[in-house]
């Protein structure tokens, strides 16, 4: 069939364009066009597609040929069509994306054209069209994805030529995971990167550490850069579905251009963009459930509890140092008083017969009600629901592209009154305005509302994790009816009501544990929430000129407006009896501007590129908060509804950083690569004489696989050796005004103004710097079935900033100083294995493991050892080496906890047969080193099985070695505490002279000696966490086509599916320093999801 049509061409003449019309006839796939235009034409630019082609004839009648090419892109492994592969006409910017079956169609393809076909995870290939009109392209899966683009500091690089160390997490790795905070996706995926567990509070993120711990008291957090500009809002404001990739830059060479903020690594986050030639609508919906991932510690029940506390009282009388009570009398006293001490008798025997004088529970005792009434966890937790909808529209033409997304998340935590609701929208628009000028804007807005659990204070009564954990197993949640044993009182509405523990007016006993407090009731009646509005904007202008030059101007801001409201109800808890509220309004604005001038030139085999730039960065932190008490009307928490102002405060803080930098890259034959960079940074945190620091890096890479002698080895697909050395800085985590000696305002005395010394300041305080060396071998073997990286790094941090504890007698607690030097040295291994790769079935395994040694190598002369908390820092030790009193065991004669003694003291010490001097006085117990919280090995492994459209992926995070200080366990092992819960290990206590055990006797009079914070509470921190499991099914295109949809995927996914630790309930991953407390423990999220495109 012949089709006749008209086509035009844009004639380019100096700086003007002129339209020239052609008459075309198409027959089959052959087109002939002609025009009468008769001029000395060299180029014709075709409309918006910028197709260039040569006019062969200068005559009036012009004829040329072009074709329509159809084709399909398939995976070479299984022959399945690849959806969304990019097909471009070589030498042009024209291209299309394959459809759901991998098919594509390109018009106006010049004869002899070549097509460049690429797809993430596959080796890109170029095919000549020749005279074919139907082309099948087979792509090889590529584990190493050499041509992948790496987002780097102030630019990008090809993976193959990049000289730094990085890891990349793609949209596909994030897509199906039920994470509300994108940082969660990093855990376990990257060698050298450790993450902690994160709180179970919805929206919370885990902390991450890249290559160990670079700083003691400055920040250890990496720098987050979003679309080329450091991100200063909370990461929870990013919608994970908007993320195209996250690149974790680990070594100095790849981060050095961020100079003073790069010492802890940089996470480059790139958001999605529209793709040229394809408009699509993508939809993702999930529905899920949140529950508690860690079980509770094993605690004793009511029947075991009374005898334990009977002993605690009996022993406090019978074993007291002065005037001990005879044992028989003490036994009788304990039996008589045990119920009055504990308040409640939940058994059906008289109070003085509950525990006999033999210390045993009355064998006839029966619980008077269901044991579930004594469970303080049941009312505190729930099955939280999680709903998420993501919608995005995107598309692009030759000159512009757009991406617009909207998402809604409603994540309800497993603890009552904990949730996170987020609305987010993003518009990313890029335009090639002129041939030499490109510009774009990326704007996002996020509105979050979140109810926050009051789980902040480990020992605060309002914290349900502290409260429910430590509540003795004999206290009912609801108020009992004193007149009807086993029954509960009802209020006017016929409902049970909470027992606040101080309702003796109702005839029920007072509860000695947390009397007058009720974390469940308080959680329900109190409020603690924030509303957060974040606007982020990134804009750039990129001009190319003089052929090889490019000037880029980036500007970005993140504005966080936040309103925190905390309300304490007037009935019970911290707000009682009058009610109180605190409102805080804060504005946090980060502003960043940079100008970059770059030059790239290729001379034969040599390619050089140079960059010079300037960056200005500012953070403004402004808040106003006020508290009032005495609530007037119920139900209203606005401050106007209270009568008395108890606090009113405001402040405005500024931080500024100014930097100048330059980078030079050299590439010879795509085989040898070198890169050098330098940056000079000034920070407002330091005194003017020392605020400027210079940071630099040098790095190189050798593509061994490009050498002829390696090319001949078919087993080697890729082999690259690279190394880098560089210096970066750190000024995070310290006060904005760290160098300044200050007096704090607000210490008013009566009605007179008052100020008080708040910091000493330090004019010598300067940059913490990190000197990092890195060498790595990257490889891919046997048709990319085995790939990986083996890497060694040595990261030395010097001038460590530390709040050095001063003697209390100096009147101020600490001085911020540069104290010393330490290194983090380690080996990282990453392996990507594909044991099976067939048409229908693929099995791949990604493994990573990291071994880090952290050691302090220099300390200041005046303070060669610094003790802070549970660790002591000195040369030869790590940042987290425990320095604790040494628990030896329990003295069989007396059941006292014994420790190795500092000195013999006849009042509390004795010498063993082996000559050890031991003590029973905790203050005389000797300190010693006992391990560290840093594990011997940590990492993760991902196992992915794919069968046709079905895939199962499992990510397991592990740690071997290291120790934690299990403070909640220590709390549950207390030897006193009438009414406080006890761990089942307490049942192994010493009871009678001669008993051999490691658990001291119960004794409320000796709690300081028996329960003190010694190394007794250190526990092996090894763990295994099945962090993520996803089962997904890609519905075949043949089904979905009929419904006019594509890429239909249904899946189920879980986070924190299983956590295995040495002790049940122990949250080993809570902190890097090994501290555990009664924090909001991690959540298990299970979701069911559906995604498709239109």
């Amino acid at each position: 069939m012949r089709i006749r049509y008209v086509e035009f061409c844009l004639l380019k003449n100096a700086f003007t364009f002129q339209k020239i019309f052609f008459t075309c006839i198409r027959e089959s796939n052959h087109v002939e066009c002609s025009t009468n235009y008769n001029l000395n034409i060299k180029y014709c630019m075709n409309g918006k597609k910028f197709t260039f082609f040569l006019l062969l004839f200068l005559s009036a009648q012009m004829v040329w040929a072009q074709s329509i090419v159809k084709g399909v892109v398939k995976s070479a492994d299984d022959g399945e069509g690849l959806i969304g592969a990019s097909v471009k006409v070589k030498g042009t910017t024209r291209g299309v994306v394959t459809d759901a079956e991998g098919k594509f169609e390109l018009r106006d393809v010049p004869a002899n054209a070549s097509l460049e076909v690429s797809y993430t995870g596959f080796t890109a290939t170029t095919v000549r069209v020749g005279n074919r009109s139907v082309i099948e392209v087979l792509l090889q899966a590529d584990a190493a994805t050499l041509d992948e683009v790496v987002v780097t500091t102030f630019g990008s690089a090809k993976r193959s030529s990049f000289t730094g160390s990085f890891n990349k997490i793609d949209a596909a790795d994030i897509a199906t995971r039920p994470i509300s905070n994108v940082v969660s996706a990093i855990a376990g995926t990257t060698a050298g990167v450790t993450t902690n567990a994160g709180s179970g509070q919805p929206g919370a993120a885990p902390a991450i550490r890249i290559r160990g711990f670079g700083s003691i008291s400055s920040s250890n957090d990496p720098l987050y850069v979003v679309d080329g500009v450091p991100f200063t809002a909370n990461i929870a404001n990013l919608n994970p579905d908007d993320i195209e990739s996250m690149t974790i830059l680990k070594d100095a060479a790849s981060t050095a251009l961020y100079g003073a903020r790069a010492a802890n690594g940089v996470v480059m986050i790139t958001t999605k963009k529209g793709v040229e030639g394809k408009s699509s609508v993508n939809v993702r919906m999930t529905k899920g459930f949140n529950s508690r991932a860690l079980p509770e510690y094993d605690r004793v029940g009511a029947a075991e509890y009374y005898p334990l506390m009977w002993e605690a009282f009996r022993n406090s009388q019978a074993y007291r140092a002065a005037n001990p009570v005879p044992l028989a009398t003490a036994n009788q006293n304990a039996s008589n008083q045990i119920v009055s001490l504990l308040g409640y008798n939940v058994f059906n025997v008289p109070n003085n017969q509950l525990v006999g004088t033999d210390g045993l529970l009355n064998p006839n005792a029966q619980l008077i009600f269901d044991p579930s009434e004594l469970d303080w966890w049941a009312p505190a937790v729930r099955q939280g629901e999680r709903d998420e909808v993501n919608l995005n529209f995107n598309g692009g033409t030759k000159t512009s592209d757009y991406f617009f997304s909207f998402s809604y998340l409603n994540d309800k935590g497993f603890l009552i009154r904990s949730d996170f609701e987020r609305y987010s929208a993003r518009l990313n628009y890029n335009a090639q305005i002129k041939k030499w000028l490109r510009t774009g804007a990326n704007i996002n807005a996020t509105i979050s509302n979140s109810n926050q659990a009051d789980a902040g204070g480990s020992s605060s009564f309002v914290n349900p994790f502290n409260f429910s954990r430590n509540m003795g197993p004999i206290y009912p949640v609801y108020a009992l009816d004193p007149n009807n044993p086993g029954q509960f009182q009802l209020d006017a509405n016929g409902q049970r009501f909470f027992d606040y523990g101080n309702m003796n007016a109702l005839g029920i006993p007072n509860r000695p544990q947390y009397g007058g407090r009720h974390a469940i009731a308080e959680t329900i009646l109190n409020q603690n929430y924030f509303r957060r509005n974040v606007i982020g904007a990134r804009g750039y202008m990129e001009a190319t000129f003089l052929k090889d030059f490019k000037f880029t101007f980036n500007v970005g801001t993140d504005i966080t407006n936040r309103n925190d409201v905390v309300f304490g109800n007037p009935l019970i808890g911290d707000g009682a009896p009058a009610g109180r509220a605190t409102h805080e309004f804060s504005n946090f604005t980060g502003f960043n501007m940079n100008q970059l001038l770059s030059y790239t030139k290729t001379f034969g085999n040599h390619t050089i590129s140079a960059l010079a730039g300037h960056e200005n960065f500012q953070e403004n932190d402004n808040f106003l908060d006020g508290s009032r008490s005495q609530q007037i009307l119920d139900g209203n928490v606005e401050l106007v509804n209270f009568t008395t102002t108890t606090n009113l405060n405001s402040a405005y803080n500024i931080r500024r950083v100014e930097g100048y930098f330059s980078r030079f890259n050299y590439d010879f034959k795509d085989k040898y690569f070198a890169s050098f960079s330098v940056r000079r940074d000034g920070s407002s945190k330091f005194f003017q004489d020392v605020r400027w620091g210079t940071f630099y890096s040098a790095s190189g890479a050798w593509r061994i696989d490009q050498e002829e002698f390696i090319k001949q080895i078919p087993a080697i697909n890729m082999l690259k050796l690279r190394g880098s050395y560089g210096q970066t800085g750190n000024d995070g985590g310290i006060s904005y005004y760290a160098w300044q000696p200050l007096y704090a305002l607000g210490f008013n005395n009566a009605n007179e103004a008052g100020i008080l010394q708040s910091s000493l300041g330090n004019r010598q305080l300067e940059w913490e710097s990190s000197n990092a060396f890195d060498v790595a071998l990257e490889f891919s073997l046997f048709k990319n079935r085995i790939g990986g990286t083996v890497e060694f790094f040595d990261r030395r941090s010097s001038n460590l900033i530390f709040a050095v504890p001063l003697p209390l007698s100096a009147g101020i607690l600490s001085e911020t100083r540069n104290i010393g030097t330490m290194y983090n040295r380690g080996v990282e291994v990453e392996l990507n294995l594909v044991p099976v790769r067939s048409k229908d079935f693929t099995w791949s395994i990604d493994l990573n493991a990291t071994k880090i040694k952290n050691e302090i190598t220099r300390m200041p002369e005046e303070t060669p050892q610094i003790i802070s908390g549970r660790v002591r820092r000195e040369v030869g030790r790590s940042i987290y080496d425990y320095w604790l009193r040494e628990f030896v065991g329990v003295r069989p004669e007396t059941g006292e906890a014994t420790y190795r003694a500092i000195a013999f003291n006849p009042a509390n010490s004795f010498i063993t047969e082996t000559g050890d001097t031991l003590t029973t006085n905790f203050n005389n117990a000797r300190f010693h080193y006992n391990g560290s919280s840093i594990p011997a090995l940590s990492g993760g492994f991902t196992n992915t099985l794919k069968y046709k459209g079905l895939s199962l992926s499992t990510l397991v995070v592990y740690q071997i070695g290291g120790k934690v200080f299990d403070a909640p366990y220590a709390g549950l092992m207390g030897s006193g505490g009438y009414g406080s819960a006890k761990h089942i290990d307490r049942l192994r206590r010493w009871q009678n002279p001669g008993d051999v055990t490691d658990v001291p006797r119960m004794d409320v009079g000796r709690t300081a000696d028996f329960d003190g914070g010694s190394d007794r509470w250190l526990t092996d921190a090894s763990f295994l966490n099945v962090r993520s499991v996803t089962l997904a099914y890609q519905v075949p295109a043949s089904f979905t086509k009929k419904a006019s949809i594509s890429n239909l995927q249904i899946y189920t996914s879980a986070e924190n599916y299983i956590i295995l630790t040495k002790r049940r309930g122990m949250n080993v991953q809570q902190n890097f320093n090994g501290d555990i407390d009664n924090a909001f423990s991690p959540a298990r999220n299970i979701v069911f999801g559906l995604s498709f495109s239109l």
Binding site: S316, R320, N323, N333, Y500, G501, N502, N510, R511, P512, G515, G516, A543, L546, F551, D574, P577, A578, Q595, L597, A612, H614, T644, T646, A651, N653, I654, E658, S684, Q688, Y737, Q740, P741, L742, Y743, A744, L745, F747, N748, N749, A750, E752, G754, I755, L756, Q757, S758, L760, L806, S809, A810, G811, I812, L813, I867, N923, Y978, G1005, T1007, A1008
Partner: protein
């Protein structure tokens, strides 16, 4: 091409021209001021002076039960035998009553007074060192320096009583270890001075303060010359320097009255009471809420501590108070809803306290003022000092000034010698209950702790006897100081 050259040039210029002016990286906080400004003028230095008083009323180590000097005042009585916890329900300060807390290096109790008093000393040292250059009149500079010296002397006096062994006038010089004398701003850890040296410094500071300070003052929450004399009276009493104690107490109370019986029943929460010589004037934006003084010791604040475990007086002491004495109404032997005030749901225990009470029941405010020094104490110091010197008649007369104000039916005591001293001490126990004296009185008089035979609950008190002079009378030096100060040595364990 011209425009491209322009672009190139402007790009290069932008790079260079954004280098900002010199001061761009100089930033300053808005919620603090530079230390150099603190003593630039006497006005600013006055603010720095006031900050020290306020530092006595803030929470230490984030512990609600350890909110500054008022908490310590309660604890000093908790550690004695006269303050009884009604039951074991709420265990705040149980560690202190059991004498565990102050004997544990790592407990809040060993660290918080040490940290608080040295904070005052450190800030006072800054003022003393810098005040001479402050803009203002010489009189203003003298007044501030004197006030700082007085507060420093007071702080050392409190420190040495807690962390040192008792001062024994019969064993001069008292060479046992006291606390480090830090007299200038420093970051160094200094070794402990002897108890004798510390007392010498305290006397020097207070004497110089008296010389420099004016009689007038802005408000009762600050120290003036007369209050400093009161402090010196306490010091002299503790040093068994009876003549000085007598003289200073007399001078200190010059012009001060005793409150009326009606005022005695008002709840010890109002600094305007005529008998309060020095105290903390609690404004509504300065509250520590549940950490406040009355939140722990009043009869009617709606806190779990008060509701559950109201404080009571030692029965043996209470039984000696004549029923005509107004002070007998400060506690209730058999409390009922009719004869005692408690917060809603509050339990009632025998001999429970009514002395400290906030306005309104249930009280919704923690804004009770805190007494630091009252006329009654000065009378008692004067009387005791007289009695210890054998001036029996004068002592009895002095004591009677107080007793007849409290008990219109009372007649002047005819006791002499040790009996008279005991009578005076008995009056201290009932007059100053809850105001922070009992532990220190037992220590200075070298008495044992004896809780036997009273209404102490063995599950709460646990400890019933501590011999006089035992090591346990000394607080341990906090671990934080031991770790950060190489020159420090621990008290005997």
């Amino acid at each position: 091409m011209k425009n491209k050259f322009l672009l190139a040039i402007s790009a290069a210029l932008t790079l260079v021209s954004t280098s900002c002016d010199e001061n761009y990286l100089d930033t300053a906080p808005t919620a603090s001021i530079d230390a150099s400004a603190a003593f630039a003028t006497t006005k600013n230095a006055t603010a720095a002076m006031n900050g020290m008083y306020r530092a006595l009323i803030v929470r230490y180590l984030d512990s609600q039960g350890h909110s500054g000097q008022p908490a310590l005042n309660i604890i000093m009585d908790v550690m004695g035998e006269d303050l009884v916890f009604g039951n074991a329900s709420n265990n705040w300060h149980f560690g202190e009553q059991r004498w565990i807390a102050h004997r544990s290096e790592t407990s809040v109790m060993t660290r918080f007074p040490y940290q608080m008093y040295y904070r005052i000393i450190g800030n006072a040292n800054l003022l003393i060192s810098n005040i001479d250059n402050a803009t203002g009149t010489q009189a203003e500079r003298d007044a501030l320096k004197g006030e700082a010296l007085a507060l420093r002397g007071w702080a050392y006096f409190n420190l040495v009583q807690l962390y040192g062994k008792r001062y024994n006038a019969a064993q001069r010089p008292n060479s046992q270890l006291g606390v480090p004398l830090v007299l200038e701003p420093t970051k160094e850890g200094l070794p402990r001075n002897t108890v004798e040296e510390v007392y010498t410094q305290i006397n020097a500071d207070l004497t110089e303060a008296i010389r420099l300070m004016p009689v007038a003052r802005v408000n009762k929450s600050r120290i003036n010359q007369q209050i400093t004399k009161g402090i010196l009276a306490r010091v002299a009493l503790t040093q068994q320097n009876w003549p000085l104690a007598e003289q200073m107490a007399a001078e200190a109370r010059q012009g001060w009255n005793l409150m009326s019986n009606a005022q005695y029943l008002e709840g010890f929460a109002e600094i305007n009471n005529p008998e309060w010589m020095w105290g903390f004037d609690h404004l509504e934006d300065q509250s520590e809420f549940f950490g406040g003084f009355h939140s722990y010791i009043s009869s009617n604040y709606n806190s779990s501590v008060i509701r559950q475990t109201p404080k009571a007086i030692n029965r043996l002491v209470y039984d000696r108070i004549p029923s005509t004495d107004i002070r007998s109404q400060m506690w209730v032997r058999t409390p009922t809803a009719a004869n005692s005030i408690v917060p809603p749901g509050g339990v009632r225990v025998p001999f429970m306290v009514q002395k400290f009470r906030l306005p309104g029941t249930p009280s919704t405010s923690t804004m009770g003022d805190v007494p630091y020094m009252r006329t009654a104490e000065m009378i008692l110091i004067q009387a005791e000092a007289q009695a210890r010197q054998g001036k029996n008649a004068e002592a009895a007369a002095t004591l009677h000034i107080l007793v007849r104000a409290r008990d219109t039916a009372a007649t002047q005591t005819t006791k002499t010698g040790a009996d008279l001293v005991e009578e005076i001490l008995f009056n201290r126990r009932i007059e100053l209950w809850g105001e922070g004296f009992r532990f220190l009185d037992l220590k200075r008089t070298n008495s044992p702790l004896n809780r036997n035979g009273a209404n102490h609950n063995p599950a709460v008190a646990v400890l019933f006897d501590v011999p006089a002079g035992d090591n346990q009378w000394e607080f341990l030096i906090p671990r934080y100081e031991m770790d950060a100060n190489e020159a420090m040595v621990q008290n005997p364990l």
